[in-house]
């Protein structure tokens, strides 16, 4: 309707201007690259004011982060000197509230004594309510062309703002990411450092443990050697005492007037007998210590047990222990380190003897027994009638440094069990029906001495595998 009132030349001129303005508005977006939202809004208000010959442009930008809205007002040069921008801004702000549905399509506000028509435009930006209000004194404001230009401009602003927002968001995310990366890097470095410290600490603890364990093993060896040395000394000193006494007597008998030849002969014979006795002890010790190969060898468990008993006998007698043995006949050899197994047997016998040292109301009976343990192992048991142990002690007997003896170190049983386990055997303990306890261990037989049933099973193995592979 408006267009029909103008002459065609005027109409064409207006259209040309409109197209120019459109191009200018469209070109605006290009200048907003990397701009902040407030810059975009500032630029578009300036452009609208200038291009469309408006008297005022007001923009209210709701900040998505929830901060106070950004409000920008531009007053045209004709009114600028006479108008209080703040009052106008507040007036527009009052008319067009939070709910765009309640916005009036056009309001008149008196500025500088003349009414100015103000039209609102809403920018739809993902849930935000951005207001652009444009005002002019012209009575025909806003014309159709102006409405078109406003909506295009509004779209451009929307796009520009979205871009700017996106950019800002990207920047924020990038900054936050940088910050988090830096933070996380720091955390990782700290965690790494902590881990390194932990590893070093653990390494140190492990070394300490290894050191303690080797010291322990050494101590036990020394103790065992000390005990053995005492037994050896006793076993050798007895016949030596006989030898020296007999030889002295012999000399004295020969030196007498007249010489006591018969007496001298008798003492000389006894000297020889005691000498042989001493040499028997040495032979036994040799057998005990001679070890050609540290690896597993066939061990006659009964023979090994007898040697240990021979060496412990004087100590057992000293403790008034009445020792009984039940060594099963015809036992096959076990596979093991003879001296180590003997250390275990010695330890069990000494423990049994110690457990009975305070027993006076019954004979201090000890039984050492060997027998088969199934088809593949032999078992040795030492049974005493001593003080025994409580259930609580029972669970900890094999722990290193745990002892129920007043003067014990708590090493013997723990080392004994580790020796037995190294032999592929096991060690256990059980209370007796009467007083005292039984300690037992079992060690596997030499492979070739396992029962016939096992041998056939092994022989059958490869054949059945051949069948399977075909």
């Amino acid at each position: 309707m408006e267009a029909s009132l103008e002459n065609p030349a005027e109409q064409i001129k207006r259209l040309q201007r409109c197209i120019n303005d459109l191009v200018s508005v469209l070109a605006l977006a290009a200048t907003w690259a990397d701009a902040e939202p407030s810059q975009v809004v500032g630029a578009v208000t300036d452009a609208l004011l200038r291009m469309l010959d408006l008297d005022l442009v007001f923009v209210r930008l709701t900040n998505p982060t929830g901060d106070a809205p950004i409000k920008i007002i531009r007053i045209g040069p004709s009114q600028k000197s006479t108008t209080d921008a703040r009052i106008v801004s507040e007036a527009i702000d009052g008319w067009f509230g939070d709910n765009p549905q309640k916005w009036p399509p056009l309001v008149q506000i008196p500025i500088g004594g003349r009414g100015v028509s103000i039209a609102p435009l809403q920018l739809w930006l993902q849930g935000e309510k951005t207001l652009i209000a444009v005002g002019s004194q012209r009575p025909d404001f806003p014309s159709q062309t102006e409405r078109l230009l406003f909506s295009v401009a509004a779209n451009q602003v929307a796009i520009g703002l979205q871009k700017a927002r996106l950019l800002t968001e990207q920047k924020r995310i990038a900054d936050e990411l940088d910050e988090r990366v830096a933070e996380r890097t720091g955390e990782l470095a700290a965690a790494n450092e902590e881990l390194r410290n932990e590893i070093a600490e653990r390494k140190r603890a492990e070394e300490e443990l290894r050191d303690t364990q080797s010291k322990l093993a050494h101590m036990t060896r020394l103790m065992t050697i000390g005990q053995l040395t005492a037994s050896i000394a006793h076993e050798v000193n007895q016949p030596l005492a006989g030898i020296i006494t007999n030889a002295n007597t012999c000399l004295r008998m020969l030196a007498a007037q007249p010489p006591n030849i018969e007496g001298a002969k008798e003492t000389a014979r006894r000297t020889i007998r005691d000498g042989n006795r001493a040499s028997e002890v040495i032979k036994r010790l040799r057998a005990l210590f001679s070890k050609k190969d540290p690896s597993l060898e066939p061990v006659d468990l009964n023979e090994a047990t007898r040697e240990v008993i021979a060496l412990s006998l004087s100590k057992l007698q000293g403790n008034r222990v009445i020792l009984r043995t039940e060594l099963a006949d015809g036992l096959p050899n076990v596979s093991g380190d003879r001296v180590q197994l003997q250390q275990v047997i010695l330890n069990l016998i000494q423990n049994g003897s110690d457990a009975m040292s305070s027993i006076d109301d019954r004979p201090r009976d000890m039984l050492v027994k060997t027998e088969r343990d199934g088809h593949e192992a032999l078992c040795l048991t030492v049974r005493d009638v001593g003080v025994g142990f409580s259930e609580e002690d029972g669970g900890r007997l094999f722990d290193a440094f745990y002892t129920t003896k007043g003067d014990g170190m708590g090493i013997g049983l723990s080392v004994s069990r580790s020796i037995v386990e190294r032999h592929g055997g096991r060690m256990w303990t059980a209370g007796n029906e009467g007083p005292g306890v039984s300690f037992s261990f079992s060690v596997p037989l030499l492979p070739e001495q396992k029962t016939d049933a096992d041998t056939t099973a092994r022989a059958g193995g490869p054949r059945s595998m051949e069948r399977q592979s075909k």
Binding site: A233, N237, P239, A241, N248, R252, D274, G318, R320
Partner: protein, 131 residues
């Protein structure tokens, strides 16, 4: 000399040997007789206590470690009975740690097996001088 020994035969002081080791019980009495003592040997402390020698023994040569009553046990028992017989301990355990306690309890000497005839003689002289 032989004549003198024979004539003083009745006067010979009695030395008792208590040791569970047979070779000691065989060899030591012969040497002690060569020294000029009368000797009785016992395989255990209990055997000695029940014999008729407790009151007559001038010196006791006593093994420390024995099954049943040990040497120190016998020492205490004699003290309890107020039979203060001088004691020379002998032991095959090469352990000097027992010695001070035994001497403290009144023993004359503690000899480690094997011991020489001169050491034994010295200990006996001390024991008889004490007697």
């Amino acid at each position: 000399v032989t004549e003198v020994v024979r004539t003083t035969n009745v006067e010979r002081p009695l030395v008792s040997v208590v040791d569970d080791d047979e070779s000691v019980r065989e060899s030591l009495p012969d040497l002690l007789r060569e020294f000029g003592f009368a000797v009785r040997a016992f395989a255990s402390a209990e055997e000695f206590l029940t014999s008729d020698c407790v009151g007559k023994t001038r010196c006791l040569i006593l093994d420390i470690a024995m099954p049943g009553m040990t040497g120190p046990d016998l020492q205490h028992e004699l003290k309890r009975r107020r039979r203060e017989i001088p004691i020379v301990f002998i032991t095959a355990h090469a352990d000097e740690s027992a010695r001070p306690g035994l001497i403290e309890e009144g023993a004359v000497e503690c000899l480690l097996k094997p011991f020489s005839d001169t050491d034994l003689r010295k200990a006996l002289d001390m024991a008889l001088a004490e007697d």
